[in-house]
């Protein structure tokens, strides 16, 4: 059979790390957080998988997933509207005995029947909290050639302060790895070590049959977490290999990192690094090009389509359909879809969620360490 596709199916957990950014996830989930002027977080992993020929992708949603369903639709934007495979969104089964899953073990246990009926040899799993142009083809090939049971992707990075300080709550574990000759010897959970670590991206590849048997035995024992309860105790018997991702990666760990990671893209080097190679797809909105009206002053910005700019904008990220009226001043801001800033308003270090309305003459000012956040649909 001619096959340009990968022999792997994809599973994405869109709710992981929701609780790190409560402001942004009050009405959505991590995967649908807007990022980089016209994308949602899930676009990066989803496009990465689709570009590498993974065309059977399941998204195991947990809660707050309306915005994600709206964003994904039938999966056409990612070319995942397929008769066989394609995009498969799995909501929780609404039944008394079924609880909303906590960890990956429970999530995977809920789709065991599905997993058993698939044909792909491997399963690739990922969260959606990292914006990355990840090379899944290389990842899959490396795994196949190494003969490992499991391969996990990591980056060399510092564990964010918030993750270190945080009391371990159900879905905010961060994992670092101790690697010897490419093999993972220890998985540290919420480590307190300072400095650059081998920081897990929680992107895994595992043989589908092996995953099924591991989940079956873990689930009956009441285990919850894939890393803590399955991998870590079996590191001696399971060959878990580490795969370093050396490219660009933007991880959302809190409001501050959300702001910073957006702002970083104003540096052309970072923007090129994130978007080099394969395209990142997203839902199409059919906006017009952005219009800069006479009198507009713009300096160091990134903007999506559909904006109308008449005022001053500096060092800012504008999502689709943002309108900035005459005499308004916007500096160091991240303004999400359809934010409108009326005449004479002044914003500095502000993150506005969708459909925020800033009325004329208002002044809002945060600081670089603490941007002011304005929730969805609020009028100031």
């Amino acid at each position: 059979m001619v096959n340009s596709n990968a022999d792997a199916l994809g599973i994405i957990f869109p709710n992981s790390y929701d609780s790190l950014v409560p402001e942004l996830t009050s009405e959505r989930l991590m995967a649908s957080i807007p990022f980089a002027s016209r994308y949602r977080m899930i676009d990066f992993i989803l496009s990465g998988m689709a570009n590498c020929g993974i065309d059977n992708i399941s998204i195991v949603v947990r809660k707050n997933y309306h915005s994600l369903l709206d964003h994904l639709g039938s999966g056409r934007a990612w070319d995942l509207t397929r008769k066989n495979g394609g995009l498969n969104i799995i909501p929780p089964f609404a039944q008394k005995a079924v609880k909303i899953y906590h960890g990956r073990v429970e999530a995977l246990a809920s789709i065991l029947t599905f997993l058993k009926s698939q044909k792909e040899k491997y399963v690739v799993m990922s969260d959606a909290n990292i914006a990355v142009n990840f090379n899944f083809s290389d990842f899959i090939n490396t795994h196949m050639n190494s003969g490992a049971d499991v391969t996990v992707a990591y980056v060399k990075a510092e564990v964010p302060a918030k993750a270190v300080e945080e009391n371990p709550t159900s879905d905010t574990f961060s994992y670092t790895l101790r690697i010897e000759d490419g093999r993972v010897r220890e998985i540290r959970i919420n480590p307190k070590d300072a400095g650059v670590q081998d920081f897990s991206m929680n992107i895994y590849i595992i043989d589908r049959e092996l995953l099924i048997s591991q989940i079956e035995s873990a689930y009956v024992k009441g285990y919850i977490y894939f890393e803590r309860d399955i991998l870590e105790p079996q590191l001696d018997t399971l060959n878990v290999q580490a795969y370093e991702h050396t490219g660009y990666a933007a991880r959302i760990c809190d409001m501050k990192s959300y702001f910073d990671e957006n702002m970083k893209l104003l540096d052309a080097k970072n923007l090129d690094a994130l978007f080099e190679g394969n395209p990142v797809y997203t839902k199409i909105r059919d906006d017009t090009p952005t219009r800069y009206i006479t009198g507009a002053k713009v300096n160091n910005i990134m903007a999506a389509d559909g904006c109308i700019i008449e005022g001053d904008v500096e060092n800012s990220i504008l999502f689709r359909g943002v309108k900035i009226a005459k005499g308004a001043k916007v500096k160091n801001c991240v303004l999400m879809q359809d934010t409108t800033v009326e005449e004479g308003a002044q914003l500095e270090y502000v993150v506005s969620d969708k459909n925020v309305h800033i009325t004329a003459g208002k002044e809002l000012k945060g600081t670089d360490t603490f941007p002011v956040f304005i929730a969805k649909k609020q009028t100031v």
């Binding site: 002027s37 978007f275 797809y281 199409i284 059919d286 090009p289 952005t290 507009a296 999506a304 109308i308």
Partner: protein
Amino acid sequence: MAKEMIAMLLAGGQGSRLYVLTQKLAKPAVPFGGKYRIIDFPLSNCVNSGIDTVGILTQYQPLVLNEYIGNGQPWDLDRLHGGVHVLPPYQQASGSDWYKGTANAIYQNIPFIERYNPKYVIILSGDQICKQDYSDFLKFHKEKNAEFSVAVMEVPWEDASRFGLMVADEDDRITEFQEKPKEPKSNLASMGIYIFNWDVLRKYLVEDEADPTSENDFGNNIIPNLLKDGRRMYAYHFSGYWKDVGTIPSLWEANMEVLNPEDSGINLFDENWKIYSRNSGMTGHRISADALVENSMITDGCRVDGTVKHSILFAGVKVEEGAKVEDAVIMGNTVIRSGAVVSHCIVGENVEIGQHAVVGAMPAEGEKGVATVGPGVTIGERAKVGPNAMVSNDVKEGEEQW
């Protein structure tokens, strides 16, 4: 299931007066307004008017157009029954033939139209920029109990002799048709958009085909024949923005008018009448700290480090530091190197303009002219392209072309 009205879109024109821009491209596929192609306008009008079946008649350089239309999904025209269909001439048992004229193009596709058994057929043209509600046009057609209606625009009397003119009575019933007359009796110019009762159109197409002296053209043959027979023909007045972008100056002008929707009337920002297009899929555009942007439209994938004034940049255009772009239409993925000056011109897709090259010039008093650089051309460093030039081949370093 019968359709009330389907659309037939004439997209076969060569567009020879767009010269280098249409050498490898059908005119309806010519890029327009930052992220559109001309054909997006009639297609979006169809969908917004509730027409879900469109036949696109192509024959000249159809590759780009075919790929662009694809399954019609960007316009929501991927339908189980109906949707958009590209209709090139094809071979039949009786032989094969190119489309000899606009009427013959429809004639050859009578079987296509009959599949949908429509009551009405609207004939559209693929080379106009216009936002129009065809359902309002159909309402007029029905109210007048017409057999044929044509959309007309009032044009200034001094320009009237450049158009096909409809002479109509106070009830809008057409009494006479004048094709580019020396002495116009009317200033109602035909927009080339017709609604026919299908049974009437079918009859006249068959008769026209049987006439060996006919040019098989709507304007020259079908409409005069209808008139001769005293058919119920009406003129529907349209007063919105309408522009035939068949020439370089008119294409440039229409693009510039997009920058001034308040006065020109071509408002692409209307949420209630969106113009759809196939998306570039590029990331948001970047405007750096060194850039200066004034009164322009910029779309995804652009990187602006230089100066852009009163211009339209299509997806993926790069304007390097120190480069100047003014009164220009720059099509997709073109790169303008540092120090280059690009003004009052149309630059095609995938062009590279070298450092310190000069393309076009702002016209002095009484002068006219829009420089045009064809797609894929490379303009060398310090090369010069004159204000009226039509560039289809590379211009080498330091050379001049006027």
